[in-house]
Amino acid sequence: MSTATASTAAPVAPAARNGGNGRPVLGPYAVRWARHLATPVVLGLVLLGLYLYVGAQDLDRIEQRSLNADYLLSRFGQHLWLSSVVVVLVLAIAIPLGVLLTRARMRRYAGAVLALANIGQATPSIGLIVLFAVVFLSWGINTIAVVAFVTYGVLPVLRNTMVGLDQVDRSVVEAARGMGLSRLRVLWSIELPLAVPVMLAGIRTALVITVGTVALATFIGAGGLGDVISNGISSNRDLVLFAGSVLVAVLALTIDWLGALVEDLLRPRGV
């Protein structure tokens, strides 16, 4: 009955509504997917441009040492590996912590923990890793790097997990409990799915931050694409510096693109 009224009321643009969940489609929806498709193309073109540009230059020995496929691939691999470890740890810490801190009993600690996480992020990242490297001399270089970057990336995921869970309508949770779903079940099948969009936004931020800050690992000798940049600086070769920066930027944007894609795919229907 109401479908009939709806379609007679808006006969002009029936395609303008998404059948699935009532979001307008042809506006933001199409734009979003256009961006999803365009981003990798643009990033690919940037890489191609860089390759052609560097290839056209006459590289001296010092430049060649940084700008060759083997070296770049190994730094790229280090970078990805370090970032992945950091992100996995960030998720493993921040999501359970966020869930815990939104439970009624633990709520009173939320303020304190958030403040702590804020300090972690407000400290300049370069300062943080150098500080860690000095204070925890006995740890391995990689451990220090990972701990520092995890400290740095926890906040957005923690905060968004908490916000995401808090914005779930209390009456929905109460109805679920009132029908006999256990606390765990409510969390798993009601609260978390409804918090997913907000949580994913935080995770995406953390990914991008991590990929960016891992470039600083070079300053404590933990490798990564930051090595290329710092080679460029120390040897006074702008081309190397430029290439390293572009590579880090492209990597961060690629991760951001993947994050956006996942966000759209995992958003629950009907929300």
Binding site: G22, D169, G180, L181, S182
Partner: protein, 386 residues
């Protein structure tokens, strides 16, 4: 037919809830019995502990002291999650899961109880039809694409899903427009006549309470029940000043809505003409009307002698309508008579303005409220027949 008095399905004894940090208890030594198969309405001003009392029953809130028994069993010994699966729960904000379809929402408790897939699907469709939603159309929608009234219907269907004997409903028809609300109330009462659940129904609205309740519990401050009685007796003899104030003016008119037309004596002194039978039964006195009916005695219109065409019948009322509806129809039609039919739509008689007046005087007068204080069948509403 003699009926044994209904046994209490829910029994609250000395129930007290004191929220930590609050000066006054939200519910204070409450004793209350909800008879099996009846709707008991909690009504009272905001913050008087209606919701708290209801949530104590399914242990969403744990009592400070007191006993809660359902079907003779103390609920404190039962695992709360299991307990709640046996108690339907519907709330004003509906609490529908926005990321799940209507069907999935309704299937929540049956799934918890481990029903088979086909049984659940059949139950979902049956319930959707029961609450007046076409299963085909609405089954796979998400709640965000339903109107407020439709959401509340789904909320009721979800509460009924596993066929629980007890239902808790906290302002289930709250935030919707008066017309839709009235329709939902009617439908729900019709449904309840079949399913005969024991229902605790919370509302702010005394009119809704009078309409829905077999009994009404009027809450005052701090979760104290000031009066617990049938709607007729609450309107007829409101206890204390507060209850009378809360009920407010217009009790006489409200009381009319307690009497169904099937319980009222109708007058049948109007001449009746069967269409196609000639003018034999037509009134001869000019200016008097006869009711024109078809061969099945369904009313068609008013016939006046000397006029070719009958005057159309603006409205006629069935057995489920109330004296309040009759008065309403009279005022709307600017007439002092309404035609009453039986459940098959056959002419039964007429109700006149004078009938209503007599009725009001009969029940309004002092000393006319016989019957036991705790008498409670729906028949108690029929003051007119006592």
């Amino acid at each position: 037919m003699p009926e044994s008095p209904p046994r209490p399905m829910i029994r609250l004894t000395g129930l007290t809830k004191h929220y930590p940090g609050q000066a006054e208890p939200a519910v204070d030594h409450l004793d209350l019995e909800v008879p099996e198969g009846e709707i008991v309405v909690f009504v009272g001003p905001s913050g008087c502990g209606k919701t708290t009392t209801m949530k104590l029953v399914n242990r969403l809130i744990e009592p400070t002291s007191g006993r809660i028994e359902i079907d003779g069993r103390d609920v404190t010994g039962v695992d709360p999650d299991r307990l709640r699966r046996g108690i339907g729960y519907a709330i004003q904000q509906t609490g529908l899961f926005p990321h799940r379809t209507v069907a999935d929402n309704i299937a929540t408790v049956p799934r918890l109880l481990g029903w088979g897939r086909e049984r659940i699907a059949a139950r979902v469709d049956e319930l959707l039809a029961k609450v007046g939603l076409d299963p085909q159309t609405y089954r796979d929608r998400h709640p965000g694409r339903l109107s407020g009234g439709q959401q509340q219907r789904v909320g009721v269907a979800r509460a009924l899903a596993a066929d629980p004997p007890v239902l808790l409903m906290d302002e289930p028809f709250g935030a919707i427009d008066p017309l839709t609300r009235e329709a939902l109330q009617e439908e729900f009462l019709r449904l309840q006549r079949d399913i005969r659940k024991t229902i605790v129904f919370v509302t702010h609205d005394i009119d809704e309470a009078v309409k829905m309740g077999d009994r009404i519990a009027i809450f005052g401050e701090c979760g104290r029940v000031l009066q617990y009685d049938t709607p007729a007796r609450i309107l007829g003899e409101p206890a204390e000043g507060f209850v009378a104030d809360f009920i407010g003016n217009g009790t006489n008119v409200r009381r009319l809505s307690l009497t169904r037309l099937c319980e009222v004596e109708v007058s049948d002194d109007r001449p009746v003409v069967v269409r196609g039978s000639g003018d034999g039964g037509c009134p001869t006195a000019p200016g008097s009307f006869a009711l024109l009916v078809d061969r099945d005695r369904r009313p068609l219109g008013w016939a006046e002698p000397g006029q070719d065409r009958p005057l159309p019948l603006i409205s006629h009322l069935g057995p489920e309508h109330t004296l309040h509806d009759a008065l309403d129809a009279m005022l709307a039609n600017n007439s002092d008579t309404v035609v009453v039919t039986d459940q098959d739509g056959r002419y039964r008689g007429t109700v006149e303005m004078a009938t209503i007046q007599t009725h009001l005087h009969r029940v309004g007068g002092p000393g006319n409220e016989g019957g036991p204080v705790r008498g409670g069948e729906r028949a108690d509403r029929s003051i007119g027949t006592s």
